[in-house]
């Protein structure tokens, strides 16, 4: 099975939890966004607090968790924000 590298980008609170805004993650391809979420939650201390079903975007396009992820894609996770 081939391995791909995706660039993961955390926004706002998620970046604080993960301790970084971007990081490269290796996943077995073909993969889905859900695979990346799992990988991130396991591999990055702090990111374990991310919800299992976060708002996700592949290449800045909002996708569902079953959306495919390819080598070189950027996968972004965006927390809800409520401040006003």
């Amino acid at each position: 099975m081939a391995t791909g590298t995706v660039q993961v980008r955390f926004f706002a609170r998620y970046a604080e939890l993960a301790g970084c805004e971007t990081t490269a993650v290796s996943v077995a391809v073909p993969a889905t966004v859900a695979d990346v979420v799992r990988q991130v939650r396991e591999a990055i201390p702090g990111a374990a607090l991310l919800p299992e079903r976060p708002l996700a975007a592949v290449n800045m396009r909002h996708v569902r968790l079953d959306a495919p992820v390819n080598d070189g894609d950027e996968v972004a996770f965006l927390p809800p924000v409520a401040g006003g």
Partner: protein, 382 residues
């Protein structure tokens, strides 16, 4: 031009002269603005610039929903309110400021918390809703009410140095629930009161909400429907997320399961606060207790930068996030009183300590703020 749109007075023609000479606004557009009814949910950080710009632009009717009084800590960002209004209702303060800015605006105030019981009645009479609320239950409530009533929800929200804005209009694009079907766990995302916010940030995001509202009224340009604007103040960077409508969305999808307003506090889990009976101690009582028990540990679970603003003499600092790993530093037999800023995080610390077997733990009710008010005024409030 619609004959039923209101006419402009000579004063208004002069006042709006820079609009009237814009090809995309003109007299027809200005009359649309005058006829428009916009509801602002929240007269705080986002609602302030939105209300000021919408009033200045000549939106005919501005509705405001808020139930708070002006607090000194609001003034750093809530530019609707002045120092002389501290302690007075926000809506009275807002009305006075808006009418001073533009007496042609009709201000309709709803001095109440927006709830499932009143939201449809309040929103029904408005064309556009601008959500500047500050909590998740109200975010979901405003979204669902707008979907049910078929109204656009001009959305903005802020966190520390980052902001989001969009236009959720389910007739033409996704709604808030298409993005965030499930609310976050209550303690995942701190509020502005807990997490802080740079004062200019709501100025930028609230102004974007005003801009989008005006574009919707005029019917010009490309509204933020189907796009989530992400603003990073530290990088001064705008990014944009292309949004997709969720066909399975519980409120705007093909087969909605939410067809009337629900209990949003329960939905967001904010009612699940732990029972605080007997585990909280009043500030005055803690003052007395310390005199009688010098071994008592006052455990401050705030962040080091908060400690630097103000702290209780003799307290020990272990931030909440580090507490689970640093339990070994505490004497398991000592009497411990946890404290934070207002008494929320200290309750979580209490749970952690109790779960680890600490038997004699209480939490300072109202936090260091109550300590300053009731016991030691030399400790500054923040």
């Amino acid at each position: 031009m619609h004959e039923d749109l209101p006419q402009l007075s000579h004063e208004e023609i002069l006042r709006y002269s820079r609009h009237l000479i814009l090809p995309d606004v003109g007299v027809a557009g200005q009359r649309k603005l005058k006829a428009a009814r916009v509801l602002l949910v929240g007269a705080g950080g986002l609602g302030s610039p939105a209300a000021l710009y919408l009033a200045a632009a000549g939106v005919g009717t501005l509705g405001l929903v808020d139930f708070d009084v002006v607090d000194r800590t609001n003034l750093q960002r809530q530019v609707l309110h002045g120092t002389s209004k501290v302690g007075t209702p926000k809506l009275a303060s807002a009305r006075e400021r808006i009418l001073d800015l533009n007496p042609n605006v009709r201000v309709e105030t709803f001095e109440t918390r927006l709830t499932s019981a009143n939201a449809l009645d309040i929103l029904r009479d408005f064309d556009i809703v601008a959500d500047g609320s500050d909590n998740f239950p109200t975010r979901y409530l405003v979204n669902d009410a707008c979907v049910l009533l078929g109204k656009p929800n001009v959305y903005g929200s802020i966190f520390r140095f980052e902001g989001q804005a969009s236009v959720f209009f389910a007739k033409q694009g996704p709604c808030y629930r298409c993005l965030y079907a499930e609310p976050p766990p209550p303690d995942l995302v701190p509020s502005c009161a807990e997490g802080g916010v740079l004062g200019v940030l709501p100025g930028i995001i609230g102004s974007i909400q005003a801009m989008e509202t005006i574009k919707l009224i005029l019917g010009v340009g490309e509204p933020l429907i189907g796009r989530l604007l992400l603003f990073d103040a530290l990088k001064l960077q705008f990014r944009e997320l292309k949004l997709a409508k969720d066909p399975d969305c519980p409120v705007c999808g093909a087969h909605p399961t939410v067809t009337s307003l629900i209990d949003y506090e329960a939905f967001c889990g904010v009612l699940a606060a732990p029972a605080s009976d007997g585990v909280e101690i009043a500030a005055a009582d803690l003052g007395e207790l310390r005199k009688g028990n010098p071994r008592l540990i006052v455990l401050d679970v705030r962040e080091p930068h908060e400690w630097a603003i103000a702290h209780i003499d003799g307290a020990r600092l272990i931030p909440l996030s580090e507490l689970p790993e640093r339990l070994g530093e505490l004497d398991g037999h000592a009497e411990i009183v946890t404290h934070c800023h207002h008494g929320v995080r200290s309750m979580k610390a209490l749970e952690i300590l109790q779960a680890a077997g600490f038997a004699n733990v209480r939490s300072l009710k109202g936090g260091i703020d109550a300590w300053s008010v009731q016991v030691d005024p030399s400790v500054p409030r923040y």
